[in-house]
């Protein structure tokens, strides 16, 4: 059982705080979604936890202070998927995935055969089988995201920080991505992911952090909270909505969100 806590985190750009004094705690095995309107600070929160943005406050994972870790240790513990990867040179999909092994390699060491095999497996798990040698830049935006997902899943990391990983994916691959993430989870691992798609958030996440105005408005547990309460909280982001419970053919309960017309 592991434990992740964020306390009194403030961060922003050019001395203007986008998030202010955010604190929360998550237990291991918890897939946590961050929902919020555009500009509510989802990306800022993730970047601050990564240490990419200078910030006040701190984050601890299993009593280890993330801020104090050298980049290699941090990268071995936490994986990060940015909204868009900055890779802009011709490089094969397999080589992109192999970048994920960097924390395990010495400065001059090269990925070994097992790493290559594992990387190829990670690619096919992500639905890109047989595309090892394809130029990363020639992949579609969605395939790029899946490739970066494969890179993040390579080494045995404990915490994943994902910034809208589903945004470029089509309907089928959104669900595939979250099935993969669910499969990756165990009670030592944690995922913190900003999300655009409320249906994925409601049906795959154990907890939902609702961000507004740079702070946490509330924390929801979609599996147990009453729909009326969630409706009320989600309306702060999406305007008038309604939640409905449906059942898949296999009987699993699914929450469906409908947009209601904005009346008075």
């Amino acid at each position: 059982m592991s434990f992740f806590s964020v306390s009194q985190l403030s961060a922003g750009y050019d001395r203007e705080h986008v998030i202010e004094d955010i604190s929360f705690e998550l237990e291991g095995g918890c897939l946590t979604g961050i929902l919020g309107a555009n500009g509510s600070g989802k990306t800022t929160l993730l970047k601050a936890v990564c240490g990419i943005l200078p910030h006040k406050g701190n984050c601890t994972l299993d009593q280890v202070l993330l801020e104090g870790l050298p980049p290699k240790k941090l990268a071995a513990l936490c994986g990060y998927i940015p909204q868009r990867s900055g890779i802009s040179i011709d490089i094969s999909a397999l080589e992109v995935v192999l970048m994920g092994y960097n924390p395990e390699l010495k400065l001059l060491e090269r990925p070994n055969r097992e790493m290559r095999q594992a990387a190829a497996q990670a690619l096919s798990l992500a639905g890109l089988q047989g595309m090892e040698d394809v130029n990363y830049l020639h992949l579609s935006e969605g395939q790029k995201q899946l490739c970066i997902l494969a890179r993040t899943l390579t080494a045995s990391r404990q915490l994943l920080l994902l910034d809208e990983p589903e945004s470029a994916l089509d309907f089928r691959f959104r669900y595939r991505m979250f099935e993969i993430l669910r499969g990756w989870m165990n009670d030592r691992r944690l995922i913190l992911t900003a999300l655009h798609d409320p249906m994925l958030a409601l049906n795959y996440c154990d907890r939902l952090l609702i961000l507004s105005n740079g702070g946490i408005q509330c924390v929801l547990s979609p599996a147990s909270d009453p729909p009326e309460k969630m409706e009320q909280e989600l309306e702060a982001i999406y305007g008038r909505i309604s939640l409905h419970t449906c059942h898949r053919q296999d009987g699993a309960r699914q929450l469906v969100m409908l947009k209601e017309p904005e009346g008075r």
Partner: protein
């Protein structure tokens, strides 16, 4: 080395063979006619020319071109900019100003080389020190600092030119800036070549890290890269490598820009073999241009004329090709 596909290997082998052929041609090209027979029969004059001038000139052509090509690859990858070259952080203008100072205040070609090397190094250290003032560690800051240093060095160069005697000194400054492999003797290249080769080895060893740096800063950091420190080391190594060459030869245009693009067009990759091919293309281009510089006219011509003559059309071709993609 990465992705051991046959075509890339064939390309590298072909590049190497072509470079060796050109090197052989370069050994026997020049004002003083050399023949294999004469050399074997022990003609003293021919041997002297061959050992002290031709070998060194050919070496600088090959290794120099190789370095410019490889360093250009590294720069373009790290700055994620297809137009980046060592000039971007002011190496060339620093070297020019240093050389001008050497021509004015010191004597002998070795002193000019040393002074230009010092100028190049000073420019780079200044640019990197300026960029470290910005704590955010963006690579664009390095480019901006480089531009500032570049104009500073240009100003220094201009002032030096103003004080130069127009008959002799100004002419040699101008000639130095135009770049040439003429008159490089075997006695003056030792230290530069050794340092240059060491830098090249380091660049090849750090190739995987160079590729990691091509990702966004935050992304690279979350892959476990100490972005600031690593970038500094790689840039310093690549720049040192270029300084070694430029201080011997003067400015050589386009090789550092052209060779990496050629290598990437041919391999469609950025693997270690692309870096190798980039170096080989640089060596081929510079050695070939140097042969033309010696044989196209009665007198020796600046080598940059030919590297540019080959380079400019290629660059235009790249631009047109890029347009068609859109």
């Amino acid at each position: 080395m990465d992705l051991p596909t046959v075509p890339t290997r064939v390309l590298c082998a072909a590049g190497m063979i072509l470079m060796i052929l050109l090197a052989a041609a370069s050994l026997f090209t020049g004002q003083y006619p050399l023949t294999l027979e004469g050399l074997l029969q022990g003609d003293e004059m021919q041997r002297q020319v061959f050992l002290t001038l031709r070998i060194s000139r050919t070496l600088v052509g090959m290794i120099g071109g190789f370095s410019l090509g490889a360093a250009g690859f590294v720069y373009q990858t790290i700055f994620r900019n297809p137009l980046a070259s060592p000039d971007i952080i002011g190496v060339s203008s620093g070297a020019s100003a240093g050389a001008a100072a050497g021509i004015l205040f010191l004597s002998g070609s070795a002193a000019v080389t040393a002074s230009s090397f010092a100028g190049a190094l000073l420019a780079v250290i200044l640019a990197l020190a300026l960029s470290s003032l910005d704590r955010s560690g963006r690579s664009s800051t390095i480019v901006l600092a480089g531009i500032a240093v570049h104009s500073l060095a240009q100003t220094a160069l201009m002032s030096l030119k103003l004080t130069a005697d127009p008959e002799r000194e100004l002419a040699s400054i101008e000639y130095w800036i135009m770049g040439s492999l003429n008159g490089i003797s075997i006695y003056s290249i030792g230290a530069n070549m050794i340092l240059c080769l060491i830098c090249l080895v380091i660049l090849f060893l750090l190739h995987r890290q160079t590729i990691l740096l091509s990702a966004e800063e935050g992304e690279a950091r979350m892959l476990g890269v100490r972005v600031g420190r690593l970038r500094l080391i790689i840039l310093l190594t690549a720049t040192l490598c270029v300084s070694c060459i430029v201080s011997l030869s003067g400015l050589i245009s386009f090789v550092g820009l052209l060779a990496p693009h050629g290598a990437r067009l041919l391999t469609k990759r950025n693997s270690c073999s692309t870096l190798l091919l980039s170096g080989l293309l640089g060596g081929i281009l510079l050695t070939g241009a140097d042969i033309l510089a010696r044989s196209a006219a009665d007198s020796e011509l600046p080598v940059s004329i030919f590297t540019s003559l080959l380079g400019a059309p290629f660059l235009i071709f790249l631009i047109i090709r890029g347009r068609q993609k859109l």
